[in-house]
Amino acid sequence: MLSGTRARGVQPLRQRRVRPRIWIPDFYGSAVGKKAVMAVTGIVLLGFVLVHMLGNLHLYEGAEKMNWYGEYLREIGEPILPRTGLLWIVRSVLILAFALHIHAAYSLTVMNRQSRKTKYQGGRDYIAANYAARTMRWSGVIVGLFVIYHLMDLTWGMGGADFTKGEPYQNVVASLSRWPIAGVYIVANLLLGMHIYHGAWSLFQSLGWSHPRFNHWRRVFAAAFAAIIVIGNVSFPIAVLTGIVE
């Protein structure tokens, strides 16, 4: 290597961090720490996405069961907690997880752009990285925007379809029977599947969960998780469009 032979050395891109005494900001200040936070918040969000999909299967049991399930989510934890108490605790955790996941992704992306300012002028070949891995930023941004739309549509009733608070079954059917909207739901869930396909594998690496005993299962786990979520979630708009649920 060439150091010592040249008067002008390579300058660091970034200042050496002054390490805070408190370990949480210290840890989050490093890129390896941010990736670990992305992995942990990713696990929280994976858990949510799975429970959300499983809960929505009540749609196939008819209006009464589905609407009861919506009400049950508000009542759960009573009387130890006030009504919607647990729901708001879970929502707070999810909002925090979302915020950290997005902030870490954003700041790491900025760091990575700085670290490779000049692209390959003659083009480059990808050998190992699959399409899902290379499009994480895009699938993440699109799924994030979709989540906001989804909340407007089926939580706040601002999506343009007939909406009655407390009647999720009717709201879902009213929204998803508009085929362009159903198309948006299907595309967004396919992108979510791609995001999970890389993310659910990548989190093992970020947290250092690596062992020859189970490493070959990490890819299987990520693919299966993505497939289960996509199949479950995409079935809802298809069921409404084909009249299986009406």
Partner: protein, 263 residues
């Protein structure tokens, strides 16, 4: 023995501040048993005979073990053959009439010095931060006086195979040096001799790496181009040691801060 007629598109850049551009050269009558560097030698001989500036590139041992050579050939660091450095890439891997695009490593931490030569001294900074062990001086100890399980010795050896060529950084779209740093950390952290500084080493080397390079998005492109086949399992191990270091042995981490402040 057959010969090849090739068209080369080579990145030419007079110095660090020159914008640089591709130039096209005809490389005719190339022996297929030549290495890629020997092919460039032939092209350079002809350029010199025409009184033109030869193509600058790094090289040293030409045996695939020093880590000096390296260029991006047709969009892949070290070219199309797996587990092979540029000097060990033979021209029989190309076909007659091929056009070959040759470009230097691209990373902000690896500025181009000239043509295909980049400054990799940022790697030295990472090594300086913790790529050493403390050992008592004096007479050399007997070999094998410290017992090491075979599997651990093998793993440490796999990590120590890293030659520091920088292909991992060149292949990474984020310009990240995780594979290099992980290999250098692992080959010491695995062995008994590396235990005293295990946690402070990991923190110091990772933090230095992050001053110069990008972060890991787990694409595994680095592993695919590494001429020594270093596995990304070492990156997972580095992440685990870094996370552990933040919880374990706080004193060692604080001590590093103090020595840095004193130095």
């Amino acid at each position: 023995m057959s010969t090849l007629n090739l068209t080369l598109k080579v990145w030419r850049q007079a110095g660090p501040n020159d914008p640089g551009r591709f130039e096209v050269y005809e490389a005719n009558g190339i022996n297929e048993d030549m290495s890629f560097l020997e092919m460039l030698d032939v092209v350079n001989e002809r350029l010199i005979a025409e009184n033109k500036e030869p193509i600058a590139f790094d090289h040293d041992c030409r045996e695939g073990i020093c880590g000096s050579c390296g260029m991006v050939i047709n969009g892949v660091p070290h070219g199309p053959k797996k587990l092979t450095t540029t000097c060990q890439l033979h021209m029989r891997n190309f076909k007659d009439g091929d056009t070959i695009v040759v470009e230097p490593w691209r990373a902000t931490a690896f500025p181009v010095i000239k043509d295909l030569v980049v400054d990799r001294s940022a790697f030295d900074k990472i090594i300086q931060a913790g790529g050493y062990i403390t050992a008592p001086t004096g007479a050399a100890r007997d070999a094998n006086s410290i017992l090491i399980p075979k599997q651990i010795a093998d793993q440490a050896f796999d990590a120590a195979a890293c030659i520091g060529c920088g292909a991992c950084v060149a292949a990474c779209p984020n310009g990240a040096a995780q594979l290099f740093t992980a290999a250098k950390i692992a080959h010491l952290n695995l062995l008994p001799q590396g235990q005293p500084e295990r946690w402070s080493r990991t923190v110091a080397m990772v933090d230095t790496m992050e001053e110069y390079f990008g972060s890991c998005t787990n694409y595994a492109e680095c592993e695919a181009v590494c001429p020594k086949g270093i596995s990304i399992e070492f990156i997972a191990k580095m992440n685990r040691d870094y996370l552990k270091a933040k919880f374990k042995d706080r004193r060692a981490v604080v001590k590093v801060d103090m020595t840095e402040a004193a130095g």
